[in-house]
């Protein structure tokens, strides 16, 4: 940075000289750190671009202002302190920027995001900009409620341990009447699933009003619980046009005795935090559907990586979040998905560049967020799902349950048997990655719904090139 | 013999001839089998443990010989099993008798490892207990206490030191008998799950076994741990000093040589432990000697060396 006198003379000055670039800066434990993937326009220096991002996401504007002198501007300036070229992608740079903790309001995702991404993404000198990862200091995390229930308490409430949970979304997505809708829920739960789910766009439409849906779904849930002796649930979608409407719907869900409700990402960060608080006060598990995220998470060069969204959601406080399946119909590179899952589930997430995780993140005791794998998966992939995704996950087989040739109950049973037999084999020490198909075939001998499921979907795979992959690959070491 | 008749056409006599042919095949194969004991031995890595034992403990020749005997027996048992010869699961429970400080616990640990490498215990850990860990203070307390220890020891070896304290006939409200009964049951019926080693002074163990013939009949191997000879004790002392990075001067070595036979005759001699204590006292005297010479610059060598006077100050020389 230039001298004080120079710094505050009127006029335009490069951001790097205004103090937004400091190669010697050591981030404090209490700093919020962000890493951006910057694609500067031709002729723009990467360090200046990084400094500009730091500036425009903290205190700067495009020209020097005297009013800066009324503040402790040194402290409030964000500092870009490191710029690395992205391996294998010329013209792109990872830049690390540190923000003082006082820049942010306690416990507010709305404020955190307005600060970090509110202003800078349309900046002309950048061709493209992507927020890749953030390190949130423990001091700031402690101001957030975090997930109202968390994985441990959810399992204890359901009394279900040792295996992934099973769910399904009612299909068709739209059009069923409430009574018919409840029928689908009953059949799926009776057949062996733990949960059924409203789809993200089922709110309250002419073909089905929300109150009727809630009433029929709870009849289905309770009937299935009595028939099986298990705790069952249906994610009642309380998304609505206003917070008042949402509270009304959530309160009704509680009154009817549901153990879980769901919301969509599109309600916005403020609404999500309000619902998190409500859920904690009302002993309700809170499921989040990540509706709309694909518009900004999918392209490598521009947007916000889903791992950052997952971090914000764990802080804001949801208990379930859709986080990718790897082998299903929706985007998901195995390494990137692993990184996202570790952000959801770990007490201490470790840096892992191959998985796109840039920072160690101490979660300061925030409860763990259960990832949900949903979208084009079926029983025949059970060994792959368990290997990629582990045990603390909700596996949702919508089409894979309701589309079963022998009916919905059979579909649910096929999924449940496939899951239990695979977990049992894994615990016994078998190599489920390689022996998975045989294990399923053996179980299919005594479980005809599973046989039918395997036969119907055995050739289904979604093999497309991932658009969002990590940039760091392990280099071969000489043996 | 097949457990079920094969389904489909075929008379019962067909099934019988079919199974007889099968048994013949197996017998022929077993007869033709050749066992390479050295290969079995190498695979089990037992020699590594035996070598470690040799290196770790000085003397104890009869004990080490006996252990090699047992290892050989178990190895041959395994070989016999491979060619289909049954021998029944051998009893592996043992008693170790001898004075304090003769290496009983160390050998028990190595024995657990040997048994594990030969496949006779599943996990190979050692749980060392005394009477107080097994016996309760009031009615109903003993059984759960003993059972808890037994469960933790399963898959490994249970080493009961001063085992005779389990039996206190003079005290009618003593609950040790209960513990003994539970032990007897497990030693008989769960030989595949647990090996028990009872240890203590020879004469007291003799009395104990005479009053509990059930226990004594279940012990397959009695190992006696003789006291160390004076030369062996000297060697042990040298090793200990090396380990602590001390050395003896010429006068120190002579003093040690004189000290040992005198100490052996004193009461409460605990072999290696007594040597250890003597060396610790010598270190104390060395430290005081050096302290008294405050003001001088000390060399590394002087800090390391134990002189004769550090040992000769002992009571045994009085």
């Amino acid at each position: 940075m230039v001298s004080q006198a120079e710094r505050y003379k009127s006029g335009v000055m490069p951001y790097a000289q205004m103090g937004y670039w400091d190669a010697d800066y050591e981030p404090k434990d209490t700093d919020v750190i962000a890493v951006f993937r910057i694609s500067p326009q031709e002729g723009v220096d990467p360090i200046e671009a990084a400094a500009a991002v730091a500036g425009e996401s903290s205190t700067a504007t495009w020209t020097v202002v005297w009013t800066d002198r009324l503040t402790a501007c040194e402290a409030y300036r964000a500092k870009a302190y490191r710029v690395d070229p992205v391996p294998g992608a010329p013209g792109q740079y990872f830049s690390y920027i540190a923000y003082d903790i006082d820049l942010f309001e306690e416990g507010s995702i709305a404020n955190l995001t307005a600060s970090i991404i509110g202003n800078v993404f349309g900046f002309k000198p950048l061709k493209a900009l992507r927020l890749e990862d953030m390190r949130i200091p423990v001091a700031y995390l402690k101001t957030f409620q975090g997930p109202p229930t968390g994985i441990v308490a959810e399992r204890e409430r359901l009394d279900k341990f040792g295996r992934p949970l099973l769910g399904a979304t009612t299909k068709p997505k739209l059009g069923l009447s409430s009574k018919n809708y409840g029928r689908v829920v009953y059949e799926a739960l009776r057949g062996g699933l733990d949960f059924v789910k409203d789809d993200e766009n089922i709110n309250s439409q002419p073909f089905m009003h929300w109150r009727d849906r809630f009433l029929y779904c709870m009849e289905a849930v309770n009937k299935a619980a009595a028939a099986t002796g298990e705790v069952k649930g249906h994610y009642l979608n309380v998304t609505a046009a206003t917070m008042e409407d949402m509270y009304e719907r959530a309160d009704f869900a509680k009154q009817l005795g549901s153990c879980i409700v769901m919301i969509d990402l599109v309600i916005g960060y403020t609404a999500i935090q309000s619902m998190a608080k409500w859920a904690r006060r009302n002993d309700m598990i809170l499921h989040l559907h990540r509706a709309g995220h694909g518009t900004y998470t999918r392209q490598k060069t521009h947007g916000v990586s889903f791992r950052v969204i997952a971090k914000w959601m764990r802080m804001a406080g949801v208990d379930h979040i859709h986080a990718g399946t790897v082998v299903g119909k929706l985007e998901g590179d195995p390494n990137v998905i692993r990184g996202i899952y570790s952000i959801c589930r770990d007490s201490l997430t470790r840096q892992n560049l191959e998985q796109g995780v840039f920072f160690d993140q101490d979660w300061a005791g925030l409860r763990k967020l259960m990832p949900v794998a949903s979208g084009g998966i079926h029983a025949g992939q059970m060994h792959q799902l368990i290997t990629y995704l582990g045990e603390d996950v909700v596996l949702q087989f919508g089409g894979g349950t309701i589309g079963h040739p022998h009916g919905i109950q059979a579909g649910a049973t096929a999924n449940r048997v496939a899951l239990e037999v695979m977990i049992k084999a894994r615990n016994e020490g078998r190599d489920i990655w390689h022996e998975g198909p045989q294990i399923l075939d053996q179980a299919a001998k005594w479980c005809s719904p599973l046989r039918a499921a395997l036969d119907t979907w055995k050739d289904v795979a979604f093999n497309y090139q991932s658009t969002d992959t990590a940039d760091f690959v392990p280099t071969a070491t000489t043996a | 013999m097949p457990r079920r008749r094969p389904k489909g056409p075929g008379t019962s006599s067909d099934a019988v001839t079919h199974s007889a042919a099968n048994a013949n095949d197996i017998a022929e194969r077993l007869d033709a089998a050749r066992i390479d004991l050295s290969e079995l031995l190498a695979d089990s890595h037992v020699n590594e443990v035996l070598d470690e034992l040799d290196g770790e403990l000085i003397g104890l020749k009869p004990v080490k010989a006996r252990i090699r005997d047992i290892a050989a027996l178990l190895l041959v048992e395994r070989a016999r099993k491979q060619v289909g010869l049954i021998g029944g699961s051998p009893s592996l429970h043992m008693s170790f008798t001898g004075n304090s400080g003769t290496g009983k616990t160390t050998v028990a640990l190595r024995m657990a490892q040997i048994l594990h490498r030969l496949g006779y215990v599943r996990k190979g850990h050692l749980i060392a207990v005394t009477r107080d860990d097994l016996v309760g203070q009031y009615i109903g307390h003993t059984a759960p206490k003993t059972k808890e220890i037994l469960k933790k020891a399963m898959g490994g070896v249970l080493f009961i030191d001063e085992a005779y304290y389990l039996y206190r006939p003079e005290n009618e409200r003593d609950y040790g008998k209960e513990a003994i009964e539970i032990l007897l049951q497990v030693m008989e019926n769960q030989r595949d799950d647990l090996v028990v080693i009872l240890a203590g002074y020879s004469d007291r163990m003799d009395t104990f076994f005479r009053s509990n013939p059930g226990l004594s009949s279940r012990i397959a191997h009695h190992l006696d741990f003789p006291d160390y000879l004076p030369q062996e004790l000297e060697e042990i002392a040298q090793r200990m000093l090396q380990g602590m990075q001390y050395r003896l001067s010429v006068s120190g070595a002579a003093a040690l040589h004189d000290y040992i036979p005198l100490r052996v005759q004193q009461p409460h001699f605990a072999n290696a432990r007594s040597i250890r204590n003597a060396l610790d006292r010598a270190r104390l005297r060395q430290a005081n000697r050096l302290f008294a010479q405050m003001g001088r610059q000390l060399t590394r060598d002087e800090l390391m060396t134990i002189e004769g006077e550090d040992l000769r100050a002992s009571r045994v020389f009085a």
Binding site: E156, K160, M218, A226, G229, K368, V417 | K151
Partner: protein, 139 residues
């Protein structure tokens, strides 16, 4: 009916060897083993009677299996389950829980519907078995 609580309820009843394999897996993870039994399998009844305290520091499953078999001998007509407890930070909860014994007949549950205002119903689940006093629920 057949209640489907526990991790492996949709599979055929586990043999003793299969139970032992799961116990060994839990011990390999460093978890403690607990055995519990009940004659009231209501889904919200999470406190079954403990068959002894949970067993810590086991290196081998033989001791735990002995307890399972002993519980079966003493309470043959109850539900018995094996739990595995994980004490690591971030978990501190049950990690595995599966049924190892069932009464020979399982009568199931009654769903009671209590109509309140509007179209609302308040639901209660009652075990048929629990209508008899403890000790004589499964004859």
């Amino acid at each position: 009916m057949r209640i489907t609580q526990g991790t492996f309820s949709f599979l055929p009843d586990l043999t003793n060897a299969e139970i032992r394999a799961q116990v060994d897996y839990a011990l390999a993870q460093g978890w403690a083993i607990g055995v519990e039994y009940t004659d009231d399998p209501h889904p919200r009844n999470c406190y079954w009677e403990m068959w002894g305290n949970p067993m810590f520091d086991l290196r081998d499953g033989a001791g735990a299996m002995a307890e399972v078999l002993a519980c079966r001998r003493v309470h043959p007509q109850t539900y018995i389950r094996v739990n595995a407890f994980d004490s690591t930070r971030g978990f501190e909860t049950t990690r595995l829980s599966f049924i190892v014994n069932r009464p020979s007949s399982e009568p199931g549950f009654l769903l009671k519907r209590h109509e309140v205002g509007g179209r609302q119903i308040q639901y209660t689940i009652e075990s048929y078995a629990a209508q008899a006093p403890e000790g004589s629920r499964y004859e």
